[in-house]
């Protein structure tokens, strides 16, 4: 063994190298305050290791980026842990960078002759922030997509080179495959390469000038190994412990719904350590953004870089401490204001809820037996009635109708309700209430519409109160049969159970006892009335046709009250009407219980 080591040493000089690395002098002995640089090297090492392994499973491309990250996070064994480690170590690195900077400035380690080393440090700070920025986009989820869009749009307002710079970074006029390939190359190749080079220079210069001892020195000088190494290693372990706690608490790193340029995402925020810039930008009125986004931050960064020069002045060091303190206080204040403003806005809370819901929903759809199509997971959400139905309802229906008292998304439209509440449309309960004299002209049914004083309301109010027990039973059976026409998923069991009653009801419905066919058409039976055809009432086909054109003669015809012909007028596509219908009818994919 010894001879092998000697053989290697003679050929490489490894012993001398190791000796130099380990026996660097620590003036005044090992101290905890010197650990920050080492914790940063440690974090960077963790990022390189975890990053390389993530690289083995990541696929940059607008139909594969989110999908491959989903696969890492939710399918690959231990993937969530690896990804969480990468995600939270990145955040730890930002905090440690700040601590390192503070320690260097407070201890005066930036002063001559260590200026160049300080500058390489400032450069490393910027490079690490660039890593964070580029990494934020790579999962290609709504949050990363929209937050990064803001960042690249800010790049576009850089004087002179802005638009060209933006195109170069984005890889074209708009976000797409090349945005991801470019961000990935920057994130996993170019920037880490530069960081490795600058860490080399930074450590070399650090060794050249030696450690800046904090006075007064507590003990005699000692070599780096082993006591300072122990301090550093314990500090690294502590950082790791914090990161691991976060990883386990969050079960990896968050992954939102896949990026969709056509979907509003009001919860878009940059990573927390960029929130101060995000907030800062709010104070610059249109046309002056360049000051808030580029000029002032650049000047501040240059001032931070100029600390060694400023420090030469008599009170320079104190000025530097004051400046850095003021700047950090400003950053903290802006961050606080950003968070406080979001907390106070109910819209933001709603946006977060929607974001969480869609992130959960896309997982359920991705895990469904149909899986993710090659067109990408974003198509799963676009084709999902549970996600799209409420949005379509809010946009197109809620100015008159309601859904369980709201606009489908839980909000309140500005217009007063003037048409029926469609929650549970065509269900037994919904129909029973429609035929209730006390409810038929309420806001939930015909109360807000022209039909308030129409034939149906009149009929219900006049006839139902006179019904005897047997008529009431006939009505109940007929309504159960009518509701069964809809074939609602929620009523599947009840319809099967009451098959006999429904058969009986189906005979009553077009018969003369109740008199429905005096106005309505049912299964071809009609007395020539002009009320809507109830054949297949509430079924997918019936509802699709109705929303497509309520003015059609088989529905309201000329007596249609305000409702647009969404299909015939081209207001909605057939797919959109289909999504709306499926949502109203409660038809969407439901994940098997107890799976997740």
């Amino acid at each position: 063994m010894n001879s092998l080591l000697n053989w290697i040493d003679q050929r490489t000089g490894a012993k001398k190298l190791l000796h130099e690395a380990l026996f660097e002098n620590v003036p005044g002995g090992a101290r905890w305050r010197y650990v920050w640089g080492s914790t940063l090297v440690f974090c960077f090492t963790v990022q390189v290791i975890t990053g390389l392994f993530l690289w083995l499973a990541y696929s940059p491309g607008s139909q594969t980026a989110w999908e491959s990250v989903y696969y890492i996070q939710h399918v690959m064994a231990g993937g969530w842990f690896l990804r969480g480690l990468h995600h939270f170590t990145a955040q730890a690195m930002t905090v440690l960078l700040l601590l390192h900077l503070l320690q260097v400035v407070v201890d005066g380690a930036y002063k001559a002759p260590r200026e160049v080393n300080y500058w390489t440090g400032v450069l490393l700070l910027v490079l690490v922030l660039a890593l964070s920025l580029t990494g934020y986009l790579l999962p290609w989820d709504q949050k990363g997509y929209w937050a990064t869009k803001v960042a690249t749009n800010i790049a576009a307002i850089t004087p002179l080179i802005g638009p060209a710079l933006q195109k170069l970074v984005v890889g074209g006029a708009d976000y797409g495959h090349h945005t991801l390939t470019r961000f990935f190359a920057l994130h996993a190749g170019v920037i880490p390469g530069a960081i490795i080079a600058f860490i080399g220079l930074h450590v070399y210069l650090f060794r050249k000038h030696g450690l800046t001892a904090k006075e007064p020195r507590r003990r005699r000088d000692e070599p780096f190994w082993p006591r300072q190494v122990l301090c550093d290693a314990v500090a690294c372990l502590a950082v790791l412990a914090v990161v691991l706690t976060l990883v386990v608490m969050n079960h990896g790193a968050p992954l939102g719904a896949p990026a969709d340029p056509s979907e509003q995402f009001s919860a878009a925020r940059p990573e927390w350590y960029f929130l101060f810039l995000f907030q800062f930008l709010k104070y610059f009125p249109g046309g002056t953004e360049v000051w808030g986004a580029i000029v002032i931050p650049t000047v501040l960064l240059l001032l931070v870089a100029a600390l060694p020069v400023l420090g030469r002045w008599n009170f320079g060091h104190r000025f530097n401490l004051g400046f850095l303190g003021a700047m950090l206080a400003g950053v903290a204040l802006l961050t606080y204001l950003a968070v406080a403003e979001d907390r106070s806005k109910p819209e933001y809370a709603t946006a977060l809820k929607v974001a969480d819901f869609e992130a959960e929903r896309v997982l359920a759809l991705a895990e469904a037996p149909t899986g993710i199509p090659t067109a990408g997971a974003v198509t799963l959400l676009r084709a999902d009635p549970l996600v799209q139905g409420p949005k379509l309802f809010a946009r197109n229906c809620a100015s008159c109708h309601r859904f369980d008292g709201h606009d489908g998304l839980g909000g309140q439209p500005k217009d007063k309700q003037s048409a029926s509440d469609l929650k549970g449309f065509a269900s037994r309960d919904w129909l029973m209430n429609l035929l209730d004299p006390a409810k038929v002209d309420s806001a939930a049914y015909f109360g807000g519409s022209e039909h308030k004083d129409g034939e149906m309301v009149k009929w219900v109010k006049k006839n139902i109160p006179t019904f005897n027990a047997s008529s009431k039973e006939q009505l109940r059976q007929a309504l159960m049969a009518l509701s069964a026409e809809a074939g609602l998923k929620a009523q599947k069991d009840a319809d099967a159970r009451d098959a006999a009653i429904i058969t009986a009801g189906a005979k009553i419905l077009p018969g003369d006892d109740l008199g429905c066919i005096e106005c309505h058409t049912i299964q071809g039976h009609s007395d020539g009335g002009e009320a809507p055809d109830l054949t297949g009432y509430g079924s997918r086909k019936w509802l699709t046709a109705f929303i497509g054109n309520p003015k059609h003669e088989s529905f309201y015809g000329p007596r249609n009250d305000r409702m647009p012909a969404f299909g015939a007028d081209g207001r909605l596509t057939a797919e959109e009407i289909g999504l709306l219908v499926d949502w109203l009818r409660g038809e969407w994919y439901v994940e098997p219980q107890a799976q997740r």
């Binding site: 090492t45 083995l56 999908e67 842990f81 070599p223 190994w225 991705a366 899986g371 993710i372």
Partner: protein
């Protein structure tokens, strides 16, 4: 600075410090490395397709004389996160057997995995890569053939005039037929 300039410390304490420093450092780096390796090994736990019988061709399409014909196998392709129904996942040679039965071979050469041709004129399968040749019934034709085994036969079933094949892939380069 040389270590001998440093004031000597009690050996035992020095040893404990060194051991702790080494252990702490090793643990700190081992965690990310191990979690990465664990994820790297994820594919080891994943199995190939279940090989449900899929309809490949109609019996009509096969020549009466037993000459092999090549057909694509359409099935649901599962590629990591993507599921794509009804796309080609491979190909087979089908040949009609006496008694209305059908013999099926995976087109992949068991030697090194190239796509084997059927040469009608010479009445044999020939691999374009290393010249392995197989007779129409799939057996090794030339004793000097580089292939360690004959073409991989697949289970077939004829139902209502349609040929169903249980499509599977096998490991190349081995004497025994083992599912990949």
């Amino acid at each position: 600075m040389d270590p001998k300039d440093v004031p000597p410390q009690p050996d035992r304490r020095e040893f404990i410090t060194k051991a702790c420093a080494l252990t702490a450092g090793a643990v700190a780096v081992a965690v990310p490395a191990a979690s990465g390796l664990f994820v790297l090994l994820d594919p080891l736990g994943r199995k190939g397709g279940a090989g449900e019988p899929v309809r490949v061709a109609s019996l009509e399409a096969l020549p009466e004389d037993g000459e092999p014909r090549k057909f694509s196998v359409l099935a649901t392709r599962v590629d990591a996160w993507n599921r794509t129904p009804n796309v080609p996942i491979g190909a087979v040679y089908l040949r009609r057997q006496p008694g209305g039965k059908v013999q099926a071979f995976n087109v992949v050469c068991p030697h090194a995995g190239c796509f084997v041709d059927y040469v009608a004129g010479a009445k044999h399968y020939l691999c374009p890569c290393h010249n392995s040749s197989f007779s129409p019934d799939g057996r090794i034709q030339d004793p000097k053939s580089p292939s360690p085994r004959g073409l991989d036969e697949l289970e077939t079933e004829v139902r209502d005039g349609a040929v169903f094949v249980r499509y599977l892939n096998f490991r190349a380069g081995e004497k025994d037929k083992v599912q990949a």
